[in-house]
Subunit: 462 residues, 2 copies
């Protein structure tokens, strides 16, 4: 199976846990069968593998999410980086170009697309496999999954199946699609559901060649005919900022749909997310018996005591603390927009960091202190900063540091001074994670004060 996972939408509807780099799909709040926590991304990945061990998975995303994906899925997926956030059509087009040009995937191979933040039962993935069978065995340009609509939501697109056609004649019980209605009001949605319409959950199957010919048409309109992945990527901004539904689905000649009646949820708000959390508390939390229907997530290293809270969500992490009535949590977005948005915790390709302290002194200078964790065998890119000095104190593990092209081994207790403009990198040895405390000093400690010289300049430590 060739599957494209669309990983989009950073946002603050799950603040403080989600921020500009940490989207909801990366929050490890769901329970695996073995009792460990996993994120939505990890759950979808595990579910795909369980129906098809050798699926080839490509994640289409933007640079700010790359480190989280690598950290959570490792090297088991290909990542296609959108040069900028556009919409689902350009994203799927780029991922398909990657499959055609980089992976040399035949044009008659079936490609499936689904959002990476889909929260569904395992039978969802059985339907995906059936969608593939339909594309392979019929003349359908496109096969969609129809999600059983459980209420008259004005948020979704609706798929209207044809009536009267005998389903028995169709492969996999697929139903030809008569049309679509985008985001109807609640009244119209109720009528659509009464007539047998389904939600469009953004899962599609098609042949690679079908999509590439549409993409080719779009470029031809601009006088271009890119014939490599890099060519496509370089001209990405020329692709219209439009949805796959609008650019492809609504124009397809022959579409069918397979209904899915299992669990399917949008875990994009605190209210829906906590509904799916098996544990009421995560992290260092104490509550009493009069705390009822309250979910508490504590990612800080200090305890939270909750007494007599009812129907609340309490979430604490290095970015901030939320205490909200569950119903009121829908209003969160209005309040977080002007919260200082410097992420205080980030998962990176090489590990993670937590901001411990950020102080503006009276004289205008600043200090920022981080706890850095470099995963065993990994390293940060060779880089330098123009406006800050850094002092690193190694607190655990061993590794090798490169400063201005001079390498040295480091271990617990070693201190490194990195002056403005000095190139530097660090790599953890293969046996264990490397921890250090980083103190940044300067008048302007901005995140983008970084110049990178590549990823692999640190000599592997023996």
């Amino acid at each position: 199976m060739k599957i494209i996972l669309l990983s989009g939408g950073s946002g603050k509807r799950l603040w403080p846990l989600s921020n500009d780099t940490r989207s909801k799909q990366f929050l490890k709040l769901l329970k695996r069968p073995d009792g460990q926590y996993e994120s939505m991304v990890q759950r979808v990945y595990r579910q795909i593998r369980s129906v098809s061990q050798d699926s080839q998975i490509t994640v289409a995303t933007v640079a700010s999410q790359m480190d989280s994906i690598k950290s959570q899925l490792g090297d088991h997926v290909d990542i296609v980086l959108e040069p900028e956030r556009r919409d689902t059509f350009p994203a799927i087009a780029l991922a398909c170009a990657y499959l055609q040009f980089e992976k040399e995937c035949p044009l008659d191979e079936v490609v499936m697309v689904m959002p990476v933040d889909t929260y569904a039962g395992s039978d969802y993935f059985d339907v995906l496999v059936r969608m593939k069978n339909v594309v392979e065995s019929t003349k359908s340009d496109l096969v969609l999954m129809g999600i059983n609509p459980v209420f008259a939501s004005p948020k979704y697109g609706y798929i209207i199946p044809t009536k009267g056609k005998s389903k028995e004649n169709m492969i996999e019980n697929a139903i030809p699609v008569a049309g679509f209605v985008e985001k109807p009001d609640e009244h119209a949605a109720t009528k659509l559901i009464a007539k047998g319409a389904f939600w469009n959950g953004g899962a599609f199957a098609f042949k690679l060649g079908y999509l590439m010919s549409i993409v080719g048409g779009h470029f031809k309109d601009k006088g271009l005919s890119p014939n490599s992945f890099e060519d496509m990527r370089a001209n990405y901004s020329l692709l219209e900022k439009t949805s796959f539904d609008y650019a492809v689905v609504e124009k397809a000649a022959s579409i069918s749909m397979i209904p899915y009646y299992g669990a399917w949820k949008d875990l994009g708000t605190w209210n829906t997310l906590t509904d799916e959390m098996e544990d009421k508390s995560v992290g260092m939390v104490k509550t009493n018996r009069s705390t009822v229907n309250t979910h508490i997530i504590n990612e800080l290293s200090i305890p939270i005591i909750v007494l007599g809270a009812r129907d609340m969500i309490i979430a604490a992490c290095p970015d901030g603390i939320l205490v909200s009535d569950k119903e009121e949590s829908a209003k969160l977005k209005d309040f977080v927009d002007d919260v200082d948005s410097r992420p205080m915790y980030e998962e990176k390709r090489w590990g993670n960091y937590k901001v411990l302290d950020y102080v503006h002194y009276e004289n205008g200078s600043k200090s920022l202190t981080k706890h850095m964790v470099i995963q065993a065998g990994k390293g940060i890119s060779y880089q330098c900063h123009s406006a800050r000095d850094e002092i690193w104190t190694i607190t655990d593990g061993t590794g090798v540091v490169l400063i201005d092209d001079i390498a040295r081994s480091v271990s617990r207790g070693d201190v490194l001074h990195i002056a403005k403009g000095q190139k530097h990198s660090i790599r953890a040895d293969k046996m264990a994670d490397l921890h250090f405390i980083e103190v940044q000093l300067g008048d302007d400690l901005v995140e983008n004060d970084i110049l990178r010289f590549g990823e692999t300049d640190v000599v592997e430590h023996q």
Copy 2:
């Protein structure tokens, strides 16, 4: 005026803000007339000064509170350190011995005693002055303040005034006392109040000689007659662990009382404390309109957003986070008793520190990172640690560091390595506070791993 302030009772009823070193009386949550925040200790000090500018104030307390008192009241008070926590009689006895032997206070001078965590109106202090007048002008051994009892509390002692005696004949309208009832049940308390009893709020006035003769009697029973403050202090553990009420008040021959009808409250629980807070929110806090009757105190440097909370207390500081229904907050004590009690923030004589990070690594080693603030002109004692190395990164200010008897000037960006066993100290220059990040490394980072060599060994920096 000679006033002894009793500063006792560390406890966790106001967790996370109060802990073993930070008692409720040091929390800066009350508003001064000028809009700044002050603690109960600072409020009482300010109120005393406003009725008597040249009062001589002595604070009786234990070592763990000394730094907080010095930090909040400066050098304007004398501090008498109880060698161990006993009860109010030994504490008052020691403070009186200090006045007699160290301050050479005449034995016929009037001494007043009051708890430092008294939250009262300014007229309370007018009554104190009147109590002094009564002791000076009558034969009363002891004058008490009778607090107007606003409900039938089973928590207090009750003072029963004599009836029928004409108040007009007494100086300052003082009333002779007929007797006492300690902590009656609610029913008995209701009856006492109906008969005109008052609460005993722990404010007393007496002549120094009167008290010292009682103390002398106690020591004589043990075959001792200490005649210096140090002698008294050395034998402190021989004084019975008993209250002033039991050892002195109930045995006095002639006692009178002045009633006080003004505001008087025990701000010892979150519910009573927040009642007196003028601001609903302190620190980085955002709330919406549906957040009602909710007090939020944020001492962390990350924002708290509160939506739709009703009748709640939310308190966050480096020790932990409390989210509690106001009524339920009375149950807090049961929950905090087994919370890890390492203080994460402490006010010290020389400034303060905040624990930023405390990590136990898999191999058994640990690291602890602090942000230290040394106040301008102040310094820490010359000390060493047996089981940990420390790395200090100066982040702001200038000062002088002494390591193994070698002094050097330090400023922003300097890094100091202090190995196990090395004697060290640091002092901030007079112009500005000195900030540094301290990383402790060791297998056993306990608080009492400290050997002190004195307070003043650091050479003043020019």
